[in-house]
Symmetry: C2
Subunit: 481 residues, 2 copies
Amino acid sequence: MYTSKLKGVVPVWGIVLQQGSEVSLARQIFAALKTSILTGQLPAGEALPSTRALAKGLGICRNNVVEAYDMLWAEGFLVRHQGAPSRVAPGLHLTPSPATAAPPPAQPAPPPILWDFKTGQPDLSLFPLAAWNKTVAEAARTLQPDVLCYSGPQGYAPLREEIAHWLLRSKSMVVDPQDIFITGGATQALYLLVTILHRQGRAFALESPSHPAVRTVLADGNYPFYPVPVDQAGADIATLQNKAVSAVYITPSHQFPLGGILPAARRAALVRMATENDFYIIEDDYDSEFRYSGNPISPVYAMCPARVAYVGSFSKTLFPALRLGFAVLPKTLQEAWRHYRTFMDVQNPVLEQAALAAFLQQRKMDRHVQKMRRAYSEKRALLLGALQSEFGTAAQPWGDASGLHLALQLPGAHFGPRFTAACRAAGVRVTTVAQYCPVPNEHGDKLLLGYGHLAPDQITNGVAALHRVVTAAAYLPEDKT
Amino acid sequence: MYTSKLKGVVPVWGIVLQQGSEVSLARQIFAALKTSILTGQLPAGEALPSTRALAKGLGICRNNVVEAYDMLWAEGFLVRHQGAPSRVAPGLHLTPSPATAAPPPAQPAPPPILWDFKTGQPDLSLFPLAAWNKTVAEAARTLQPDVLCYSGPQGYAPLREEIAHWLLRSKSMVVDPQDIFITGGATQALYLLVTILHRQGRAFALESPSHPAVRTVLADGNYPFYPVPVDQAGADIATLQNKAVSAVYITPSHQFPLGGILPAARRAALVRMATENDFYIIEDDYDSEFRYSGNPISPVYAMCPARVAYVGSFSKTLFPALRLGFAVLPKTLQEAWRHYRTFMDVQNPVLEQAALAAFLQQRKMDRHVQKMRRAYSEKRALLLGALQSEFGTAAQPWGDASGLHLALQLPGAHFGPRFTAACRAAGVRVTTVAQYCPVPNEHGDKLLLGYGHLAPDQITNGVAALHRVVTAAAYLPEDKT
């Protein structure tokens, strides 16, 4: 008999049990025997000890072993025949799999960043976290069980209503909540728009410079694109004449990153082209809530809702980890959007949507944006003052007085990778506009300074540090070559 | 002078102001004039009234009009010259855009669904909403401001730790938290895996039948696929021999929808093929937490972590609108995953992640899953009893005793669209297995009955109603042809 064969030899079959583990004894036996089978220590056809014998050997209750054998049998590791011992099933021996790829060798630590002028960063230290958390807790309490289930790819209806009101209050933008589609931030909206607007034989048109997000999605999909030159007044729309375009991606309220406002004549020309040549306009309104003189710029969407997909976000007005944005879509795009969103990730989680709806409905959003507009306006004034006192007339700010960053031109300079490396070595993180240009040798004399998230002393000290690097002329001539 | 020209004619320029509106007077004036410019009522070069005159005509403070004119000027609708009236800029007249597409004509209302046997629906009436909301509120209170910013595409580190513990507790699955990537539900994990695993000249392999999610993503991307036949023991892996495959999508713990457990020998064969032919295995473990006899099935991942991307979800254990799932990834896939996730939607919102981490850490998850396992097990027993009493031996359940649905075979029957329509007319929603087969004429004698979400009387009455439709043989012969 089988049990006697092993007696005194390996009575516990190499099984080492841990008492008090969160993993049950049965699971531990199962895992140990499975490993022995897969490594070939227990070959095909090998008979296992009886449950009684193994339990005795391990000094545990027999039902643990019975449960382990049942699991092995259910997953096909054992074959059972009435009255005979359980045997190892055939075809299970695996040669050891190659080791998973080793982690890349550790890089030397980069120098510490003391002054980080990265763009698009809101000042989260001023975020009304307590008020927001109260809204979240209330939203959680009042959510009905029916919204725990899927509610569809368009988004939570009360939030779409409140966003429509918010767009009217803040930008006089008249939008039907039925045309609003909630997204996981503007990034997802842009990803989806690229996915549904791509047409064979046509290209996307993108501002140059522009944010890398859309360009990267296009590159990943092997979709061609035209760069549209940008001047003080935003995208030079006339260059699109007679181009076979599937969609034009623009930032008309505050060109990213140069800051221009697209003038009405260029807007009208673009809308005319879109209608005549049957393409769509993707309008990314990423920070127009923060305009420091005058009112928010009205969107191109208002000129032609049938041709413009308007993209908004709450990452800068509230906080990035909220992951809430939206698109206002022409009816003609809505069916495709619903389809792709459904199979991409179905919908946003409901809780943030309910909390944001309440935050908007209670006008906490309005008060917060007003407060932040004042705070950012002061930081911008401080930055402009620091630049004036360090650089004088050698540096000229570009663009409209809005947003969380400033584009700065130093005529005659040429900022390249050596310059940004020199800045990093001096504790300054700064972006060149050239980094955002798909076309080489454009806007080489311009830098981007994000200030929204910086404290006053970081702004003044950072500008002084930047000035020291810029005037250490040894770097600049090299970059020029 | 200009103001006199218009006196007594159209003193307010067609502007109708609404006092007490949330839209400021300046915005209302701006919007009205802009519309007049775009429609051509105010042609290029037309001089506007002075701010003083228009304010007088409208009976409002002059600063409202000044602000409106500033906005019009900033957006390029007006041209200004020192001392001269503001004039309408050239090139702004738009021909009216074609009307947005009319909504589709209303469909006649479908008959009411009295008994809905849809699959994959958890019983949300038993969800511990109060305990969950308490966890959410606590998580919100304890979140530090630094997590309000982007934290990267991999997901909240404390949640990844807790998921690793949970996988060990619940399935004896040993996983490094560094290999766990949080997603917006399993749907997003599968979408991303298709995106990064596609290789030119190779096809995906999919179980037939299978859930339509992955098949749809493949079809949308024009990626070819092989159907892998499914029997009582899950996917017939041997059919993949010598096929040029980029990835194989399987549901080995509980084949969706037929319910088989993939035996260890087939698992080992698949892992061997994957290693030899350099492809990956996508393991979708969509409901193995709910197994009613014995322990959860251990994953294929445990056999070969270098070749298997394991996908899990909390949509069924908690609730779908949570939108939280995860993938456990081989190191070789992690860089591409990070890239695509970053440009798709950056990351999940942080709040749900923090709440779920606490829910797991406090073992509330374990208690909930245990409770639901009992509840679903009772529903399953009730369903099997009802089927036995209505159909007797004419109907045979397939698959393992687990999950939230049952596959039912009625040998000799052939269930097609006419049958499901007849069910709908009788108030029953039911899915045929054939609907989930990319290959026609497969599994035509099988139905799927989701029971997780149904109340006991819905199960018994629904089975009786289903039996009435099945025995109304008038429908079945038609389907057979």
